[in-house]
């Protein structure tokens, strides 16, 4: 038998091997694309073609739906890396003058004596966003809303710069400056001691959230409810703070690229 007759149905090796392979293929395709889809409970197919498409993994496009209208006003604040970073001395000075009117509640140095949030050392972006939200009505508060109503964008940026400039109170639980013992960092699995990383689920490093240290609990609750409630309701009324404590411009660059 020559090489030429290899691919011929007169060659039993060819006919048997091709025949058996095709038979197995056809049987498994019938089983995989028709029998098994129908054997699944809880899925209804309109016809056999529907079942085959489903088994082939044909993606089904979701029906186009309009996003639900938000219940109230949502935050329109846009923060970029240049919004509140590197304020000028002039801006901080203007902020200090404007902040006189805030002092009655938030304290002349940003440390409240009236059970209001301490603003000294607060992230500039946080103050910026909250004031703009009060002004636009995305967040309402009987005391704060009137104060914010007549502020210009520049006023808000200056006030934010001023409070961020003030020294904040020392942290509630100051970190010990000694190097951490080995067992704290790495744990001791044989002694059943977990590493610190496993216990503290929060990641290390600065977090883009409101500084809450020494903020009266009442306000911590209100702030949390404001954010959580809005998120849970799905209307994202508070929006999301995009804040980059360090290397802001690089972050923006990455976001744009992707």
């Amino acid at each position: 038998m020559s090489e030429r007759e290899l691919f011929s149905f007169r060659n039993p090796y060819f006919s048997v091997s091709v025949g058996v392979t095709l038979a197995i293929l056809v049987l498994t395709v019938i089983a995989g694309f028709l029998v098994l889809p129908y054997a699944q409970t809880g899925i209804k197919f309109t016809n056999a073609w529907d079942a085959i498409c489903s088994a082939a993994g044909l993606p089904r496009r979701a029906a186009p739906a309009t996003p639900p209208a938000p219940a109230g006003r949502t935050s329109e604040v846009v923060l970029t890396s240049s919004t509140v970073s590197r304020p000028s001395q002039e801006s901080i000075g203007r902020g200090a003058t404007l902040a006189q009117r805030c002092a009655i509640c938030h304290g002349p140095t940003g440390i409240s004596r009236a059970d209001s949030p301490n603003l000294a050392g607060q992230y500039a972006a946080v103050i910026y966003k909250q004031l703009l939200d009060f002004r636009s009505g995305a967040r309402t508060n009987a005391t704060m809303s009137p104060f914010a109503a007549n502020l210009s964008d520049q006023d808000v940026a200056d006030i934010a710069a001023y409070y961020a400039y003030l020294p904040r109170l020392p942290a509630y639980h100051p970190e010990p400056q000694l190097p951490k013992p080995h067992v704290v960092i790495y744990g001791a699995p044989m002694r059943g001691i977990a590493p610190r990383r496993a216990i503290r689920s929060v990641p290390e490093g600065p977090t883009p959230r409101v500084r809450l240290g020494r903020t009266p609990q009442r306000h911590q609750r209100a702030d949390a409810q404001h954010r959580a409630g809005a998120d849970a309701a799905g209307d994202r009324r508070s929006g999301r703070i995009l804040r980059f404590p360090t290397g802001g411009s690089r972050q923006i660059g990455r976001l744009k690229r992707t």
Binding site: S17, G57, L58
Partner: protein, 541 residues
Amino acid sequence: VLVNKKLILAHFWLAFAVFALALVLGAWQMFIRSPLGDWLSDPELYYRSLTAHGTVMGYVFPTLVAMGFGYAISESALGQPLVGARWAWTGFWLIVVGAITAMIPVALGRASVLYTFYPPLIGSPFYYIGVVLVVVGSWIWVALMSVNLRVWKQAHPGEPVPLAMFANVAGSYLWAWTAVGAALELLLQILPVALGLKSTIDAGLARVLFSWTLHAIVYFWLMPTYIAYYTVVPRAIGGRVYSDSMARISFILFLVVAMPIGIHHTFGDPQVGAGFKFVHSTFTALVTLPTLLTVFTICASVEIAARLRGGRGPFGWVTALPWDNPVMLAFAFSFVMLGFGGAGGIINMSYQLDASIHNTQWITGHFHLIFGGAIVIMYFAIAYDLWPHLTGRAFSDLRLIRTQLWLWFVGMIVTTFPWHWVGILGMPRRMAYFDFADPALAPQALSIIFSAIGGFVLLTSGILFIVILARGARAPAADAGAYRFSRAVHQPATVAVALNSHALWVALMIGLTVTNYGYPILALTLDQGTSVPAVYVGAQR
């Protein structure tokens, strides 16, 4: 008669050198992840090590063994000097350059993407270029095997191709075709992103393309082992191959059904339809056929050897086998591990059973048992068998060789059995550390400790292996004669064209690839908007 001994030795030495290095990394990984070690201060170190271990053990080491053994088979089985020896050296140096190119970024932590690449993770382009060079180097070997067989056939028209060469060429064709999937993924998808030409990648498509390579590559790793089962073991223990045709059919079946089955690696992936998963699952089940044929044929061949040595009774013949022969010992260990690993593999390929162990340590245990155990222990046997013919020096200390094989077997069982077990308990794979202080994980700690100890037994065995080979190079000269392969009980005088050539089976392999992979790949390629942003390894966050 082996002419290009230096070429073959270079392949084996490089293979075993990188193997030893990767073995050290593997043992360290077992240790650092176990309760015996502290948590890593930097998990990236683990993934760096894992990438190097996987890349070397998966791509460089077995490829070099297959190539070196392939050249040896071509020269000794065909009885003709290697045609294109200069090309063979080119392939070897391509692999050297590729391995170094790939390993530098890995060592620097710029390519900790694991050897399976895992897009959208993207590492340094040099890593991928290095891997491509390794593959291209091995393709030269594929071409040379084909050319050498053709030259021999022209000189010996109508004669049956020696079994060893028939199987060797089948393995090389399998590798040539199975490497195409990963090559497409690397060249069309990953490298453009790694080079900065694109910033998004279709990870789903990449996974399907990689599965094209990832399963059949296992059978490429397996080929030298199966060739040794059929053509080395019976000769080494004084037996005969029970059936030459059965052997050919086994290798043919591997060629045909090893390819269209890889999607069982993506049972957990949503981008592949359930119908294709079922088809691939069924075809994976077919791979048990050549394996069971081999188990039957080889057991019969071994029984022939035992009965020739005076073995009696239905099972009594087992004691008559030459158990002090390292090849016999390695083969027996290999079969035991193949049995357990194969049983585990049937669970992996089952669409339903896989759900309980998918992406757990069970999988890691499985492929270490099959590849590190059943396959690599036969690589050792091949080296022990071939070495005297390459160096012209005989091993004097068979006891040390047996110790090495015993250590490897015991070490692999101790490593992988607990690994399977914690996988059933749900321990995920690809983790740099586990918090064994957690009550949910604490019961797994003991198994992991055993497993890590097994890892060090393996390391000991690996070092011993290198020591034995190195000492063999300094032993007194002894002529080992020509390198020969087993003869069959009925050595064929003529063989049907279908069993003497590969064209039909390669055609079936490609045909089944088209039917089983064509639609998933085409659909994912044409479906727009499925790409995701690349995640660059080591980029500032």
